[in-house]
């Protein structure tokens, strides 16, 4: 059947199982929007307040559901506004497909209105990008974009479609959802060597990152932990890989990790690392990272091997295969002595949670935690609040955390929370700071328009807290540009956007406000006033190790 480029685009998206796309209209996507109008009943378009919000929404949608997120923007500023979102998704290996319109091909290169080199801009921030130069290739390119986004190590893909291609006509025949490329099968000889290392180990750690979530390996990694009698430590991207209430779960290590996790990482004799990339924030000083341990590094991406850490054993390929193989062949282990040692680390950290008259950030997080279900999505922005969530929230189900781990994008949270809510239909809590929220609070309009069950919890200290913390520790209290003390009234702001605004200054108000917020099924902004001098501890200073840890 002959169809126009826009029709083919929409048909191909639908054929690939897309039910929701996040976007913002403009001159070079008008025809695509016209097709969206005609296909309203088949595909849901969510209008965001800004294209950046659309990319973060597609990203949050994908992280929460495991599906490919889709966003749409016009040429020029529409395309440049996608860049931060694409870079965020690339850093955290999130599969999204971004569609941009562009000026007609005969105008490309003439500096025409709203023209920018979208393809060139996209290169360092995507896994791959296409410009469609012939309508005959359009459907295949869109399918290929989905295939690339979800195959191997996932990532964002951009498809740029000049206006004339949107209007050109060609034959279209629907196809099924494209399959992922089969993952490389890990070499079993190497996995046998891994088994040997595990059998020799007396103090094992399973260290798990976002790759475990991407590969849907929560169950098998839990079995591995139990059978190895290892402790589980994770990177921020791996926080939801295992039930956080499990007795073997130690939580995040790294710069703001939990003390027990950092200490166990230093003392262990074996690290079974799955889908982690050992970034500077996760390892600190690499010479001193797990210096008593042999490291088995399992990853889908061979370029991660040797990039930051030279592991004892490097195994490339499908994580599920590797983990299942090891788990099934493993003789169950018991490490009583290791358990006693780690328990002693755990006890040492119990007393670092002061409760005083003020509202402390961890009290807010715990109070939310008490009311949430295992399915509740938790989104964060970037900064102190993000680290407190990583330290104190107890996750149960995989994919319930949406956070910008690699790129550390302030302003990520609003879009991501919207995407996660729309993907799952579940209640979502966005933990944010007054700084991060200020970056993209315009998306509150989107949350209200879609009437989402979203609670935005602002841990408001009137500061850019994390940077302030560094100025406190490393710049002799020269607080430059981190003392906000803005006159923004977030309760009134919520009201102005059509959301419910609440404020809590102490524990009682917090409980009342949260009870009210959880009872509502519409957007709520809860402004929690926390002390302005709180820092995130423990902290391992940059390039430091356990010996430099600051506990309070």
């Amino acid at each position: 059947m002959e169809k126009s480029g826009c029709q083919i685009l929409i048909e191909t998206l639908i054929e690939q199982g897309v039910t929701t796309i996040f976007g913002y209209p403009g001159g070079q996507v008008l025809h695509i929007y016209d097709e969206l109008y005609k296909n309203k009943h088949r595909i849901n378009h969510v209008l965001t307040a800004h294209e950046q919000g659309a990319t973060h929404a597609a990203d949050g949608y994908s992280r929460a559901s495991g599906k490919v997120g889709v966003c749409l923007a016009t040429s020029g500023p529409g395309a440049t506004n996608l860049i931060t979102g694409l870079a965020t998704a690339k850093a955290d290996s999130v599969p999204i497909v971004a569609i941009t319109g562009n000026v007609p091909m005969e105008l490309i290169g003439t500096d025409s209105f709203q023209e920018v080199d979208t393809l060139g801009l996209s290169i360092p921030v995507t896994k791959h990008s296409f410009r469609v130069d012939n309508v005959d290739n359009l459907a295949e390119i869109v399918r290929e974009a989905f295939r690339i986004a979800k195959s191997g190590r996932p990532g964002p893909v951009l498809v740029d479609i000049p206006k004339n291609i949107q209007l050109d006509k060609t034959q279209y025949s629907p196809q099924g959802v494209v399959e992922k490329e089969p993952n490389t099968k890990p070499e079993t000889a190497l996995l046998d060597q891994a088994l040997e290392l595990i059998h020799k180990s007396k103090r094992p750690i399973v260290y798990c990152g976002g790759g475990v979530i991407n590969a849907n390996c929560s169950q098998v990694i839990t079995q591995l932990v139990e059978k190895t009698d290892a402790y589980m430590v994770c990177s921020m991207m791996g926080l939801t890989a295992m039930d956080n209430n499990h007795s073997k779960y130690l939580g995040m290590s790294g710069m703001h990790g939990r003390f027990a996790a950092i200490k166990a990482m230093t003392e262990c004799d074996l690290v079974i690392a799955a889908g982690v990339r050992f970034t500077d924030r996760a390892t600190g000083n690499r010479q001193k990272f797990a210096s008593n341990a042999k490291i088995i590094h399992l990853d889908i991406d061979s370029a991660e091997h040797g990039k930051n850490i030279d592991a004892t054993l490097q195994v490339v390929g499908d994580l599920e295969f590797a983990l299942s193989y090891i788990t099934s062949k493993l003789e169950p282990r018991k490490h009583k002595e290791w358990e006693n040692t780690v328990d002693s680390f755990k006890n040492k950290t119990k007393d670092i949670l002061p409760t005083v008259g003020y509202l402390m950030p961890w009290e807010v997080i715990s109070a939310v935690n008490e009311r949430a279900t295992p399915e509740t999505n938790i989104a964060t922005d970037v900064g102190q609040h993000q680290m407190w969530v990583a330290q104190y929230y107890n996750f149960k189900n995989p994919r319930t955390l949406q956070t910008s781990g690699g790129l550390g994008t302030m302003g990520y949270g609003m879009g991501a929370a919207i995407g996660a809510t729309m993907a799952t239909g579940n209640k979502t809590i966005l933990f944010t700071g007054d700084g991060s929220f200020g970056m993209n609070l315009n998306e509150l309009a989107t949350a209200v328009s879609e009437n989402l069950p979203l609670i935005i919890v602002i841990l408001n200290n009137g500061r850019l807290g994390m940077i302030r913390q560094w100025q406190n520790l490393f710049f002799d209290n020269r607080f430059m540009a981190t003392v906000l003390d803005r006159k923004t009234d977030f309760v009134k702001l919520a009201d102005a956007f059509g959301a419910t605004g609440l404020r809590a200054t102490n524990k009682t108000e917090l409980n009342e406000a949260l009870d009210k917020a959880f009872a509502l099924n519409s957007p709520v902004v809860l402004d929690c006033l926390i002390p302005d001098e709180e820092s995130v501890f423990p902290m391992v200073p940059p390039n430091g190790s356990l010996e430099n840890i600051i506990l309070k």
Partner: protein, 173 residues
Amino acid sequence: MCTCNENSQQFAVSIIVTNQSGTLTRISSLFSQRNFNIDSFTCGETNNPQVSRMTITATGDASKKIQLLKQISKLYDVKKVELMTPENTILRELLIAKVKATGETLQTILDVANVFRSKVVDVSPGSVCIEMTGESNKLNAFLTYVAPYGILEYCRTGLVAVERGNKCLYGVE
């Protein structure tokens, strides 16, 4: 600008790519993203019309070189990447040099050109153009020798590289 350090070394890499718009940018962007300086770059068609072959010489951290190659091999348009080891590779470069030549010096320059087994491609009153192929060191040696006579300008293609023996980087399907 070269941001090389004491661990830097020069190396040659051959890359087979599909002909897509932006492929060159993707590859050169990766070199700069990973802090490698491209010293020379050649690209041309091959016996397989679907693909082109690039030869890139670059300088950068020796320990990060393997990482760079792995990152290149992940690019969608890249079909094959290989580090070309000097001992097992035919490496050639083309030079065209325009050297100042007066009545007294012309014969000497022509003699030197002959010793280097190069070709004289143009003679004008006052200058001579010499075309030479060979490994980079040979071209460097020639340029050093004729420098005192006055090099007016020269142009080098950068290296092309093919492995010795029957093994091919990328066969025709």
